[in-house]
Amino acid sequence: MQASRAAAHETVLDVQDLSVTFRTPVGPIEVPSGVSFTVRQGETLALVGESGSGKSVTSLAIMRLTAKAPYAVVRGRVRLRDASGFRDLLLLTDEQMRRVRGNEISMIFQEPMTSLNPVHRIGDQIAEAIRFHRDVTPAAAQDRALELLELVGISEPRKRLASYPHHLSGGMRQRVMIAIALACDPKVLIADEPTTALDVTVQAQILALLKELQARTGMAIIFITHNLGVVAEVADRVMVMYAGKIVEQADVGPLFARPMMPYTAGLLRSVPRVAILGERGAALQTIGGNVPDPLTLPPGCAFHPRCLHHQPGRCDAALPPLEQVGDDRAVRCLRWREIGSAAA
């Protein structure tokens, strides 16, 4: 996948310094923390990280679906492009935000089995999504629902309009979710691990579908996943998160070829490979240790207790800044130059 920068696509989403502070009985937790990124038209940004890294919360914060203050306080700027420039979504009223959700920004989830309402027909659910944001007759909405079902590759779409969710398999339900998300031609689609719960073959189909739809509509996709194979397949740019902060940002090719942050390198190394003759029996590579508890983050770089290149006195002294490297890369590591090109 080559980053398609030939055409100067404009930025549709500009997130600056986003952080969410949760109030818990044991103290405040700030995850994500100081996250900034941009997404362009037609571009796929992958958000990679382990559980607890803050990738899902980031997307919920963009959609303003986190718990309300004071349980969760969202800070920063989330600027979405519209006809006349940018609008900060965090400053909108609830009513205005409701008009943005499903309309300009859409989201699809991990669990297609439970994301559809069991007592409504598929056609009605898609039509509902349309009628929230467009003033059309129910019949017109049903027609558009039919178009969308065809667009996402569901067989016998007319029959499916009248089906209930329990008539459909997981892969088909996920396609329906995509249809609902795309109903109003959003500028940005946030896909939160959309294929994690699906079979591998279905996964491939869904990913292919998303790429095809992106090419057709030019929407930006933020793809949240912990699966680097999927990242390689769909992403143009990658953002790696750890303990709520961005630790590396790069175009997908350079990231895989030359990861700069030891955590990224560790992630790439730990992807299991089909053994070549003679290599059987080799141990699986892991990153030792565990993801830190957000309440008691290690001092300095949060990854240092698990890092192979940890330098006491330096890495645990102060939080490394997110350093720009060239035009398109950023890395949060004090030692990236010294570590050199550690290709997986």
Binding site: R101, G102, H120, F132, S163, S169, M172, T201
Partner: protein, 299 residues
């Protein structure tokens, strides 16, 4: 892995067999519940009898014939006998049935609607709103119903409408509780979050997404409410605060029959039997529905 969309469509088109089992399963379970069938049939019989009966019996329920007082059942055309004024008991019974069943049903509709709205709002918003509303429900529940009913009935001139409203006012709490529990649980489900995701408003999510998923317990609560309402109407009519003679109601017929218990017991037996059949029928129906619609018993 350059799969073009045509191939994707072909491979993704698993032939899905439409599964209709879940609908029939509920019906199937219901039909196995013998008491529920008995209940349902009883109610249907009562409703039909009370609806068309008074139009086909030989006697009008208000027709007074002193010469035919206290006839025991099966005398001439008086199938259930006659009362102290010579009125045909069967005709009066069926006329009374219209009143009692109508009040029961109407009170159920009112209280279910009110209880559902309160429960849905309390369950959906939770926190302060939920707590305040549910404590209000608890407070009303603590009130001794009969006393409340009687007090209200003493102040308001009893008519079918006022009695319906009064009974509804004391029957909505159970439904509210049931709905609150259901909505509170359903609110966390993925499809509720997904609905928020596509920009649905709060009231849309409450009433069009969540509530349709909670229909089963509401239906069960509603059937049991009808039973209770019929019983309550009989109580207050029996005590003299409900439907006033000469309009018949099963309750005031019982009241009337008290003084003639030794000489003409059938005047008490038949209305009592009618009340028992109606209440039991609705209770069995409710039980059957509860078992049939319980998703946990699925498969």
């Amino acid at each position: 892995m350059a799969t073009d969309l045509a191939d994707t469509r072909k491979r993704g088109a698993e032939p899905e067999q439409t599964i209709h089992v879940s609908r029939n399963r509920a019906l199937h379970r219901f039909l196995r519940h013998r008491l529920a069938i008995f209940g349902a049939l009883t109610i249907v019989a009562l409703v039909v009898a009370c609806a068309i009966g008074p139009n086909i019996t030989p006697f009008d329920h208000l027709f007074i014939d002193i010469r035919s007082r206290f006839l025991s059942p099966l005398t001439d055309a008086y199938l259930f006998g006659s009362d102290e004024m010579g009125r045909d008991l069967l005709a009066r019974l069926m006329m009374a049935g219209r009143v009692s069943l109508t009040i029961g049903f109407a009170a159920m509709v009112l209280s279910t609607i009110f209880g559902t709205v309160i429960g849905a709002v309390a369950g959906y918003y939770g926190k302060t709103v939920g707590v305040v509303l549910m404590r209000f429900v608890d407070a009303v529940l603590c009130f001794p119903n009969i006393f409340l009913l009687l007090t209200l009935a003493a102040f308001i001139h009893p008519s079918m409408m006022t009695i319906t409203i009064i009974i509804a006012a004391t029957s909505w709490m159970e439904v509210a509780r049931v709905v609150e529990g259901q909505i509170r649980a359903l609110r966390e489900r993925d499809f509720a979050v997904a609905a928020e995701m596509i920009g649905a408003s709060n009231s849309h999510i409450m009433f069009r997404e969540l509530l349709p998923n909670a229909v089963a317990p509401i239906v069960v609560a509603a059937t049991l409410t009808v039973a209770r309402a019929i019983l309550l109407e009989s109580y207050i009519s029996f005590l003299g605060y409900g439907i006033q003679p000469p309009d018949p109601s099963w309750g005031n017929m019982l009241n009337n029959a008290q003084q003639y218990l030794n000489t003409a017991p059938w005047l008490a037996i038949f209305p009592g039997l009618a009340i028992t059949l109606a209440v039991t029928g609705f209770n069995f129906l409710g039980d059957g529905l509860r078992d049939a619609l319980d998703p946990r018993l699925e498969g």
